[in-house]
Every structure is written in C-alpha cells, then in structure tokens.
Symmetry: C3
Subunit: 299 residues, 3 copies
C-alpha cells in the first residue's frame, strides 16, 4: 500500500473509471495472468480472472491443491515457474511479507492479492474507487469503519490508503477488537474511536462493515460475546443519511441483514463490480500496455 503515491492512485482510478465507461475488449489480447492462491478466495481470484478476460487476456489458475508444494517446492521456485508461463502473476499467501519476498526473484510484475495479516492492497484500492464512483469524491467525507478492527487486514489497508485524502475516520468496535494503537499513531487524517455505532451513524457518508472472523478468536465464548454487536439492519439505517453508502468486503455472515440488500445505499455488490475495473486498470499499468486507444489520454 505504501508503494502508491497520491498521483499514482489518481491515475489508476481515472483509468479504472474510463474502462468502466468505455469497455475495451482487446487490450490484453495475447497476455496471460497466473493466479497463485495458497488460500482459497472466491472473490479475489474470480475478480482478477474476470478483469483479464474482459480485456481479452487469459488466465492460468494455480490452486494450492494442484501445486508442487506437496513435493516440497519453495514459494520462490513456484512463483518463478509461473513466471515462465505468463506475463503477470497474482499471489495470495498466508504469510505476511511473503509476496514482497517472492517479488525479489522475478523479472515480471507480481500483484499482492493478500499476504496473511499483512496487506490486501487491491481490496483497499477497490474500496476507495467505490467511494469515488458512488459519491463523486472522497475528500470531505466521514468514513466509519465498524467490526473487528483489530484483526482486519482490510480495514488496516483501507485506512492507510485513505491517508491520501482529506477525510474524517470513525473507528467503531468492541474495546477488545479495537484498531491497533500503532496504526492509529500513523494516521494523518482526523479520526475518532467509539464502541457504539450510534455515536457517529448520523454523520456517516460511508459505513464500512467488516466481518468478525470466527477463526481468529481464542474461544467460542469470546466469539459469541461480540458476534451480534454490530449488525446493520434496515431499522438501524433509518438513523443514517439518505445519501450515503454501506460497504462490506464480503463474504458476510450476519453483520449485514439481507433485508438491507434492496436499499439503494447498500453498495456492497456494486463494490465487487468496481473491483473488476480497478484490477483491470492495475494489470494494464503493471504490464505497461499501450493505452493510446483510450479516449481519456487524447483529451
């Protein structure tokens, strides 16, 4: 996430927006992307696959189960192997720092699709792009992050990326799952910390809800105790602005009631569609594809 300057983020979003407005079927013709997933992820892998295919490229999927890892191969060798077969690689790996380490062996671009408790930068990019496309701008907004803020790599990456903008952040969680002090210390934007969503719901322009990840708890009891604390329902949303959006990285379990799905403020499925455009733009950039056919560059 720290690789990106404000200008790079803006350029990426302009391109993603352009691709959304003007579909381009052949920009990746002849290009191959490998997806190497050591952990399953429906959404991220399918989203990258869709992005490449929409632009005329193809994908070689490598899932853990079919990997040479069972024969004792190192991550570095696996990644270098796929480099021989493709033009750009997307890697998800459960260990923090593994993606960066692997990239040092490669001549071709490697995109981080999540490295354990580390980062998930394309998720953060698509999150901010969603805000930009839905509300027209990011600056000036009150953005509320709710749920498990302690373990959630998504909210960590997102709050970091939002430092490129003039926003106010509100962190809402049980005390035991609060945003780590270390991360709060790095924020340059205004922010506030709450245990109760009611404190800030009324001023919220973006309500970013995250899952309480059962598997990260130490006991069933600890999980059950907070599980239902922050469930977004239509009733609760009567206190929110009429022009605002509810986001979620998905999958959700019960943090957002399905009854909210038909509310026009529920942006979480549209959010996934925006993700495809952001990933298209990123792939085009890292492959240095000639974009002269795109109108916005000739304007």
């Amino acid at each position: 996430m720290q690789q990106f300057t404000t200008q790079q983020v803006n350029t990426l979003f302009k391109l993603a927006h352009e691709l959304r407005i003007n579909p381009q079927g052949d920009l990746l013709k002849g290009k191959i992307l490998s997806t190497i997933f050591y952990e399953p992820s429906t959404r991220t892998q399918s989203s990258f696959t869709s992005a490449v295919q929409r632009l005329g490229g193809t994908v070689i999927p490598l899932n853990q189960i079919t990997s040479s890892v069972v024969k004792g191969e190192s991550l570095e060798d696996t990644v270098r192997t796929m480099e021989c077969y493709s033009d750009v690689i997307v890697l998800r790996h459960p260990e923090k720092g593994s993606v960066k380490a692997a990239s040092s062996f490669l001549r071709k671009p490697l995109i981080n699709a999540g490295d354990g408790i580390g980062e998930h930068p394309t998720q953060a990019l698509l999150d901010v792009f969603t805000i930009r496309e839905e509300l027209g701008t990011v600056n000036g907004l009150h953005i509320t992050l709710v749920g498990d803020l302690k373990h959630g790599r998504t909210v960590h990456s997102l709050s970091q990326l939002l430092q490129h903008y003039d926003v106010t952040l509100h962190f809402v969680s049980p005390a035991s799952l609060a945003m780590p002090a270390e991360l709060l210390g790095k924020l340059k934007t205004k922010y506030s910390v709450h245990e109760n969503l009611d404190d800030v719901l009324k001023v919220t322009d973006v309500l970013y809800v995250t899952r309480i990840q059962k598997e990260r708890f130490e006991s069933i009891q600890a999980y059950e105790a907070v599980k239902g604390s922050y469930i977004i329902t239509p009733q609760l949303m009567t206190n929110a602005k009429s022009r605002m959006i509810v986001m979620h990285p998905l999958p959700r379990v019960d943090e957002i009631s399905p009854e909210l799905d038909t509310d026009s403020r529920a942006a979480y499925f549209r959010q996934m569609e925006y993700g495809v455009f952001v990933r298209m733009a990123l792939i085009l950039q890292v492959l240095d594809v000639n974009l002269s056919s795109l109108e916005y560059l000739t304007n």
Copy 2:
C-alpha cells in the same frame, strides 16, 4: 423443465442444429460464463465450458473447494458475487429448488445444471436433441427408459420434456425402482410399465439406459440384488431394430457393456457432442445474442 413451451424447445433445437452445421467462432466474444458447482460433474461443467469456448467466450470456474462457503457465505451471496464477474451463470447444487431460489436474487441469467433430486433440464434437452438429430424426428417413436427410474432425475426430466411430442414411453425397471406414480399420473403421452426389457425391446426406437446409483441404496444387499438386472450387451441387442439408438446420460458403470461401443446404434458418446450444441444454443438465447449472422434466420 416446465418453463419451456413446445415452440421454445423447437426454436432452441433449430438453433442448436444450425450451430452444429455451421460453426460460429465469435458469437460469444467478450462474454463470460461462471460455472458454480457445489457437486463435481465432469461432463456437465466441461460441456458448458466447451460450448462457451467454441463460441469465443470465456469461463470462470468456481468449484466447491475454492468457494467462500467455507467462510459461511450463503448460496445467494455466492451467486450474486459471480454475477458481478460474469454475464451468465451455470449452477449445480445438491438441494432441490436451490437454483430457482437463487435466481430470484439475480439480474442476469442463471442456468440450472442440476439441483439434487430436482431437475437437470439441459440434460433432458440434449437427450431429446440427440433423438431428433439421430433419427430425424421425435414424433411417432417408441422410447424405452430402463434402469433406476425411481431416483433418476434424468429420466424424470426427460419424460416430462417428451410431453411436447407424440411418443409412446415404456418404463422398464425392477418394481422397487419404478417410476413414481405421481410422475406417471402427469403423463399425457401413451406409456407402459414393465419389469422385463424383452417385453418392449423389439418395438423400441430409443433405448435410454440409466445407471443404478449405488449411493442412493439403503444397503449393499439391496444394491447387489438389482445391479446386474439390466445390462445391455451385443447379444441382447440382436433382438433390437437395426435402425434405433441406445442412449445413456453417462457416466456408466456396467449397465452397457463396452463391447457395444462399436455398434453404430450406440449413440451415447455422440449424445455428449450434441449436448455442446444444445448448451451453445441455450446460452445464446438467454444472453439474447444477435444471431443475424446465422443463415437460418435469414431464410
């Protein structure tokens, strides 16, 4: 299966026939189909994949193992997710009614590729298309269904689809695996029920053989008792017409002897090829693809 009118079935088959005669490489260029399979199925998934690729489109496969289901996501959310990444979805799910239920949340077309003991409509469509292409017509034929008629969703869907035609059906099975009375009650065509294939083999134009599915039996003993009852061999086939066909949805275990494979009446492998054309036609229809380039529409 009940969604289809006789005319819709005819239009579909005309299109499938046209695609078989005149290959079309680009009709699905730029289109993406997602295949969501909660149960494995070599044949159905590969057949849909082939259909899309033959027409220039691409596929995003989602198998159970890589699904977010492990994180507790609902079927509805999984399907809506894939909708964001593709233009049309093919879904197989072990629960009856699940496909229909999932479709109510979608804006894009969803094709049922089997819902447990429910239906498997594209199988029935390809079965009838096979008869049409192999024998020139469906009307007037004697069609014999043999095997496990109680549990077989394939024969249930097929006999239902055959109600659009003027045919005579013969149901051959052990009494314990007979066609459910409820389904027989809905038939408008002539039909007869038998325990012995010899009763009707001589008049049969289409012999539709189904597998006795081991996993649906209550005990090994019950399975062993009927396992070998209806094995189609070259010797048995000396009593059949010279112009008729033997069909099977496959996979087979031992219901049809491999020695029959070289008999020109053995149509079960050709049947799989016809399946690709039927699925091509169906996808083109549900996506409302402009078919003006196809000759048959300009005739």
Copy 3:
C-alpha cells in the same frame, strides 16, 4: 518416445524454434485442449495451458477431484468424454501404459504427459530442445545425468531420446539408485557409469540434475543416507566448464543450491520456457494446423 524418428524430432524442434523467434497469436484460435490430470502437476499442466493460450486456443482442465472417477467411470470413458468437448487431449495418469491404452479408443490426438513409471515424452523433448537452443547443437556433447537414475522416468525418457544424436552420456548416482541395466543395454551412444560427479564434471557440457524422490524410498533411513550426496553448489561448479549448462526438470528440493540461480550456466528456469515452445509445436503438429503463415516453411 519410440514413436519419434530423428527427422520428426528435428522438424518439431525447428517449429518450436520458429515459434520462439516469431510469436504467433492466432494459430490455435477456436481450438480446445483438455488437460486430464489424475496426478497433480503444476508445471506440466500450466505449461500446456500456456502453450495453447499463447497461440490463441483455450483449455478445459479436468482435475482428479472433479472427475467422474468418483462415480466409478473407467479411464477410457473419461477420455472419450473429453474428446467430445475438445480437439486434443493431454493426459497424465499414474499407471504405466495407461495413456497408450486410452489412445486406442480415440479419434482425436492424445498427448502423454506422464504415465507413472512409464514415460514423460514432452519433458524429454523440451530437455533436448533446451540443449539445442542453449548450446547451438546436441551432437558432440558430453551429457551427465546425476541423481536418482533408477526411478527417474525423466532420465529414462531423456537418455532414450538422446539416441537420435551423437553424444556421450555419463550416469552418476549411488549404486543403489543406478540406471537400470536393461536401459543401459539399449543405448547405442557411448556412455560411462560413476558414483562420483567429480569423475566427469570437467568434461561435462550438460549437467542434468534430478531429484531424489523421497516417496519412492523404502524407508526414511534409506532416503536420508543418500539425500545430500549430489548437491550442486557454486563451489562445486568452479570445477565445471565456463560454457556449459545445468538443467533440472524441477521441482527441486535441495539438489541444486539456490545460490547457483544467478550463475548464467543455471538453465533450469529457461528450460521451462523452452518447454512452452516445444508443447506449442507438438500441439500444432498433432492438430495438423496449417503453418503456411510461418516464415520458415516458405524459405
């Protein structure tokens, strides 16, 4: 491996070389390759996939886990099924002879991607092609094969393929893992047998290193005893020629030290890239694709 004449091998390599120099994006447009892998293989499956996609074709992957095999289907029927959906099939199966047996049922081409302790012909072809591209010729070279020469199907196929050339082979292994006498008896080229790599390293033009496959040993003790016997390090390589290459079929465990990777003689990752071109050429040949657009044929 015995299907190939010297001339066929040469023609294949000329085509592979041409494809390497002049990328061809559309030669396989509209063609579908099925990959049927009863054993996982990152490299081989991805390499074939890359080869097809680079030439504009598409792939239907069939992995063991999604196969009808769980329903008791025979290999023959599975292969014939995939034949209905594609134009050419690539098959890996754990049983020796299975690929040849399966081919007898097919009308379309079947490529052997490894049949247990049998053969792995495309690996041998890409190995020899690597030597040709890296060193300009194969004739006259000293080629040293080191590691587990008893169980390694790779070295068996390779030494067989090298019989088309005028080379000197050196076999280096512990006595317990030596090249089978039966295979040595078939060699027409000069060869020598050693336990110590030092005996031949100085004259070696090609050092072909293979993995000591843990799973083929009878006990952990037997494995541990020889495990580290033949580890290729930068220090050891100071005794080798400056113009020579080190090859490995990969994956490696610890037979080649990662410190060697930056040595220009380390050809094992380039070897994988050559593999894509060899597989491209082979697929074009078995599909009898019109190659008149390729320059080398008009020369």
